[in-house]
Amino acid sequence: MPVRFLKNTSEIADVSVESPLPVALTNASLVPADTLLVATLGVNNTANRDLLGSTTTEQPTLTGCGQYRKLIWTYFRQGADATTYWVYARTTDPLSGEPLSTGWQLLTASAGETLPGGANEWGRIDIPATGDAYYDQYRIVVQRTGGSANYDMTFKIVGVR
Protein backbone atom coordinates (compact mmCIF):
# COMPACT_ATOMS: atom_id res chain seq x y z
CA MET A 1 0.00 0.00 0.00
CA PRO A 2 1.70 3.20 -1.10
CA VAL A 3 1.76 6.30 1.05
CA ARG A 4 -0.28 9.00 -0.59
CA PHE A 5 -0.59 12.73 -0.11
CA LEU A 6 -2.59 15.61 -1.50
CA LYS A 7 -0.46 17.36 -4.12
CA ASN A 8 -1.34 20.69 -5.73
CA THR A 9 -4.69 20.72 -3.82
CA SER A 10 -6.47 18.56 -6.34
CA GLU A 11 -4.26 15.60 -7.11
CA ILE A 12 -3.55 12.67 -4.86
CA ALA A 13 -0.08 11.35 -5.54
CA ASP A 14 1.83 8.29 -4.41
CA VAL A 15 5.05 9.07 -2.60
CA SER A 16 7.91 8.36 -4.99
CA VAL A 17 11.25 9.70 -6.06
CA GLU A 18 9.51 11.96 -8.57
CA SER A 19 6.88 13.06 -6.00
CA PRO A 20 8.57 13.19 -2.61
CA LEU A 21 6.45 13.69 0.47
CA PRO A 22 6.70 17.37 1.38
CA VAL A 23 8.34 17.64 4.78
CA ALA A 24 10.12 20.34 6.72
CA LEU A 25 13.77 19.80 7.60
CA THR A 26 14.14 19.62 11.35
CA ASN A 27 17.91 19.50 11.50
CA ALA A 28 18.68 22.53 9.35
CA SER A 29 20.43 25.46 10.97
CA LEU A 30 20.39 29.10 10.11
CA VAL A 31 23.35 30.28 8.08
CA PRO A 32 24.30 33.74 9.30
CA ALA A 33 24.61 36.75 7.07
CA ASP A 34 27.94 38.54 7.55
CA THR A 35 28.28 42.24 8.18
CA LEU A 36 31.20 43.25 5.97
CA LEU A 37 31.32 46.99 6.39
CA VAL A 38 29.57 49.74 8.40
CA ALA A 39 30.72 53.33 7.90
CA THR A 40 29.74 56.88 7.09
CA LEU A 41 30.89 58.49 3.86
CA GLY A 42 30.87 62.19 3.14
CA VAL A 43 29.45 62.10 -0.38
CA ASN A 44 31.00 64.72 -2.66
CA ASN A 45 31.66 65.24 -6.36
CA THR A 46 35.11 63.65 -6.45
CA ALA A 47 35.25 61.11 -9.23
CA ASN A 48 36.29 57.49 -8.75
CA ARG A 49 36.00 57.66 -4.96
CA ASP A 50 34.85 54.51 -3.22
CA LEU A 51 32.81 53.99 -0.05
CA LEU A 52 35.98 54.16 2.03
CA GLY A 53 37.01 57.44 0.43
CA SER A 54 39.78 55.93 -1.67
CA THR A 55 40.45 57.23 -5.19
CA THR A 56 43.05 54.53 -5.89
CA THR A 57 41.56 52.67 -8.80
CA GLU A 58 43.03 49.28 -7.94
CA GLN A 59 42.08 49.45 -4.27
CA PRO A 60 39.09 47.18 -3.46
CA THR A 61 36.37 48.32 -1.08
CA LEU A 62 35.70 44.74 -0.06
CA THR A 63 37.79 41.63 -0.37
CA GLY A 64 37.38 37.98 0.58
CA CYS A 65 33.80 37.92 -0.70
CA GLY A 66 33.91 34.77 -2.80
CA GLN A 67 31.39 32.90 -0.66
CA TYR A 68 28.57 35.40 -0.96
CA ARG A 69 25.71 34.99 -3.40
CA LYS A 70 24.63 38.61 -2.88
CA LEU A 71 25.85 41.73 -1.16
CA ILE A 72 23.11 43.84 0.41
CA TRP A 73 24.03 47.54 0.58
CA THR A 74 21.68 49.50 2.86
CA TYR A 75 22.13 53.16 3.62
CA PHE A 76 20.63 56.28 5.12
CA ARG A 77 21.43 59.38 3.10
CA GLN A 78 21.14 62.86 4.55
CA GLY A 79 21.17 64.78 1.31
CA ALA A 80 19.06 64.86 -1.82
CA ASP A 81 21.46 65.97 -4.54
CA ALA A 82 21.72 63.60 -7.47
CA THR A 83 24.24 60.87 -6.80
CA THR A 84 25.61 58.14 -9.04
CA TYR A 85 27.20 54.85 -8.08
CA TRP A 86 29.25 52.22 -9.88
CA VAL A 87 29.97 48.67 -8.76
CA TYR A 88 33.15 46.93 -9.93
CA ALA A 89 34.11 43.33 -9.22
CA ARG A 90 36.84 40.82 -9.96
CA THR A 91 38.24 37.49 -8.84
CA THR A 92 41.56 36.66 -7.21
CA ASP A 93 44.04 33.82 -7.21
CA PRO A 94 43.12 31.68 -4.17
CA LEU A 95 46.77 31.04 -3.22
CA SER A 96 48.23 34.52 -3.48
CA GLY A 97 45.05 36.55 -2.98
CA GLU A 98 46.12 38.75 -5.85
CA PRO A 99 43.56 39.63 -8.54
CA LEU A 100 43.97 37.71 -11.78
CA SER A 101 44.74 41.02 -13.44
CA THR A 102 44.51 44.73 -13.01
CA GLY A 103 41.26 46.46 -13.83
CA TRP A 104 37.74 45.47 -12.97
CA GLN A 105 34.54 44.08 -14.40
CA LEU A 106 31.80 46.70 -14.23
CA LEU A 107 28.53 45.28 -12.86
CA THR A 108 26.52 48.47 -13.42
CA ALA A 109 26.04 50.63 -16.49
CA SER A 110 29.13 52.45 -17.69
CA ALA A 111 27.43 55.78 -16.98
CA GLY A 112 26.61 54.60 -13.47
CA GLU A 113 23.30 54.12 -11.69
CA THR A 114 21.30 56.70 -9.80
CA LEU A 115 21.48 56.27 -6.04
CA PRO A 116 17.83 56.00 -4.98
CA GLY A 117 16.26 58.17 -2.30
CA GLY A 118 16.22 61.75 -1.15
CA ALA A 119 17.26 63.67 1.94
CA ASN A 120 16.90 61.68 5.17
CA GLU A 121 15.73 58.58 3.42
CA TRP A 122 16.69 54.94 3.55
CA GLY A 123 17.86 53.03 0.53
CA ARG A 124 18.92 49.56 -0.45
CA ILE A 125 20.85 48.14 -3.36
CA ASP A 126 21.40 44.45 -4.08
CA ILE A 127 24.75 43.57 -5.62
CA PRO A 128 24.33 42.35 -8.26
CA ALA A 129 20.84 43.57 -9.04
CA THR A 130 20.07 40.27 -10.75
CA GLY A 131 21.82 36.92 -10.74
CA ASP A 132 24.56 35.74 -8.42
CA ALA A 133 27.69 37.43 -7.18
CA TYR A 134 30.54 35.11 -5.97
CA TYR A 135 33.23 37.62 -6.94
CA ASP A 136 36.21 37.92 -4.61
CA GLN A 137 36.66 41.69 -4.60
CA TYR A 138 34.37 44.67 -5.05
CA ARG A 139 34.96 48.35 -5.52
CA ILE A 140 31.89 50.54 -4.96
CA VAL A 141 32.23 54.10 -6.18
CA VAL A 142 29.85 56.90 -5.22
CA GLN A 143 29.87 60.43 -6.61
CA ARG A 144 27.55 63.39 -6.22
CA THR A 145 26.80 64.28 -9.83
CA GLY A 146 24.22 67.02 -9.34
CA GLY A 147 23.59 70.02 -7.09
CA SER A 148 26.26 71.49 -4.83
CA ALA A 149 25.56 70.22 -1.32
CA ASN A 150 27.74 67.43 -0.01
CA TYR A 151 26.07 65.17 2.51
CA ASP A 152 26.76 62.22 4.78
CA MET A 153 25.64 58.71 4.00
CA THR A 154 25.73 56.04 6.70
CA PHE A 155 25.76 52.61 5.16
CA LYS A 156 26.13 48.93 5.83
CA ILE A 157 27.10 46.08 3.53
CA VAL A 158 26.06 42.54 4.38
CA GLY A 159 27.12 39.39 2.56
CA VAL A 160 24.51 36.65 2.21
CA ARG A 161 25.08 33.10 1.04
Partner: protein
Protein backbone atom coordinates in the same frame (compact mmCIF):
# COMPACT_ATOMS: atom_id res chain seq x y z
CA UNK B 1 21.23 22.49 2.76
CA UNK B 2 23.08 25.66 1.93
CA UNK B 3 25.40 26.73 -0.85
CA UNK B 4 29.16 26.90 -0.67
CA UNK B 5 31.47 28.31 -3.29
CA UNK B 6 34.81 26.65 -3.99
CA UNK B 7 37.64 27.35 -6.38
CA UNK B 8 37.76 24.59 -8.96
CA UNK B 9 40.45 25.97 -11.26
CA UNK B 10 42.83 28.90 -11.63
CA UNK B 11 45.26 29.07 -14.50
CA UNK B 12 46.53 30.53 -17.73
CA UNK B 13 46.01 28.94 -21.13
CA UNK B 14 47.43 29.98 -24.50
CA UNK B 15 44.41 30.20 -26.79
CA UNK B 16 44.89 29.42 -30.47
CA UNK B 17 42.84 28.36 -33.48
CA UNK B 18 42.63 24.70 -32.52
CA UNK B 19 40.16 23.84 -29.77
CA UNK B 20 41.72 22.76 -26.50
CA UNK B 21 40.62 22.81 -22.91
CA UNK B 22 42.02 25.11 -20.25
CA UNK B 23 44.48 22.36 -19.28
CA UNK B 24 45.81 22.32 -22.85
CA UNK B 25 44.22 18.96 -23.69
CA UNK B 26 43.26 18.72 -27.37
CA UNK B 27 41.61 15.27 -27.15
CA UNK B 28 37.86 16.07 -27.36
CA UNK B 29 36.92 13.27 -24.95
CA UNK B 30 39.39 14.25 -22.26
CA UNK B 31 37.63 15.83 -19.29
CA UNK B 32 39.01 18.97 -17.72
CA UNK B 33 37.37 18.26 -14.39
CA UNK B 34 36.17 15.00 -12.86
CA UNK B 35 34.25 14.05 -9.71
CA UNK B 36 32.06 17.11 -10.12
CA UNK B 37 28.67 15.68 -9.15
CA UNK B 38 28.35 17.90 -6.12
CA UNK B 39 28.43 21.14 -8.11
CA UNK B 40 25.27 22.69 -9.46
CA UNK B 41 26.60 25.94 -10.90
CA UNK B 42 29.88 27.46 -12.06
CA UNK B 43 31.14 31.02 -12.36
CA UNK B 44 33.99 31.38 -14.85
CA UNK B 45 35.74 34.73 -14.58
CA UNK B 46 38.99 36.04 -15.91
CA UNK B 47 40.91 38.34 -18.18
CA UNK B 48 41.62 37.97 -21.89
CA UNK B 49 44.89 39.32 -23.15
CA UNK B 50 43.94 39.89 -26.78
CA UNK B 51 41.32 41.89 -28.65
CA UNK B 52 39.87 39.02 -30.68
CA UNK B 53 36.89 37.12 -29.30
CA UNK B 54 37.44 33.69 -27.77
CA UNK B 55 34.97 30.93 -28.55
CA UNK B 56 34.22 28.57 -25.68
CA UNK B 57 32.32 25.31 -25.36
CA UNK B 58 31.51 23.70 -22.05
CA UNK B 59 30.51 20.04 -22.05
CA UNK B 60 29.10 17.96 -19.24
CA UNK B 61 28.74 14.20 -19.01
CA UNK B 62 29.99 11.02 -17.45
CA UNK B 63 31.94 7.93 -18.45
CA UNK B 64 29.45 7.26 -21.25
CA UNK B 65 30.27 10.48 -23.02
CA UNK B 66 29.13 14.08 -23.18
CA UNK B 67 25.43 14.72 -22.59
CA UNK B 68 25.25 18.50 -22.39
CA UNK B 69 27.07 21.45 -23.85
CA UNK B 70 26.88 25.22 -23.85
CA UNK B 71 28.77 27.54 -26.17
CA UNK B 72 29.42 31.19 -26.50
CA UNK B 73 32.01 33.88 -27.03
CA UNK B 74 34.16 35.84 -24.66
CA UNK B 75 34.45 39.32 -26.07
CA UNK B 76 36.24 42.47 -25.02
CA UNK B 77 39.47 44.28 -25.65
CA UNK B 78 42.83 43.13 -24.36
CA UNK B 79 42.96 43.29 -20.58
CA UNK B 80 39.20 43.25 -20.08
CA UNK B 81 37.47 41.06 -17.53
CA UNK B 82 34.72 38.62 -18.40
CA UNK B 83 32.37 36.30 -16.60
CA UNK B 84 30.38 33.32 -17.83
CA UNK B 85 27.74 31.74 -15.63
CA UNK B 86 27.14 28.03 -16.20
CA UNK B 87 24.16 26.24 -14.72
CA UNK B 88 24.05 22.69 -16.05
CA UNK B 89 20.66 20.98 -16.12
CA UNK B 90 21.96 17.94 -14.24
CA UNK B 91 24.81 17.11 -11.82
CA UNK B 92 27.35 15.75 -14.28
CA UNK B 93 30.49 14.08 -13.02
CA UNK B 94 32.79 15.41 -15.76
CA UNK B 95 33.21 18.72 -17.51
CA UNK B 96 35.35 19.92 -20.36
CA UNK B 97 36.06 23.64 -20.69
CA UNK B 98 37.22 24.26 -24.26
CA UNK B 99 38.48 27.48 -25.88
CA UNK B 100 39.69 28.56 -29.30
CA UNK B 101 40.40 31.78 -31.15
CA UNK B 102 43.13 34.13 -32.29
CA UNK B 103 46.34 33.60 -30.29
CA UNK B 104 46.22 35.22 -26.87
CA UNK B 105 46.57 34.31 -23.23
CA UNK B 106 43.49 33.64 -21.10
CA UNK B 107 43.93 33.93 -17.35
CA UNK B 108 40.84 32.61 -15.61
CA UNK B 109 39.29 31.12 -12.50
CA UNK B 110 36.39 28.69 -12.21
CA UNK B 111 34.33 28.86 -9.03
CA UNK B 112 31.90 26.04 -8.35
CA UNK B 113 28.79 26.11 -6.20
CA UNK B 114 28.08 23.12 -3.98
CA UNK B 115 25.15 22.30 -1.78
CA UNK B 116 26.24 21.21 1.66
CA UNK B 117 24.53 20.42 4.91
CA UNK B 118 23.63 23.61 6.72
Amino acid sequence: MRTQSLTVYVGVVQVDASAKDVLNQTEPLAPTFVNMEAYRAFYWTGVKRGDAPIAYTVRGGNGNGWQWSASGQITGTAGSWFRVVLKPPAPYSRYRLEVSGAPQLLHSKLTGLQEVEA
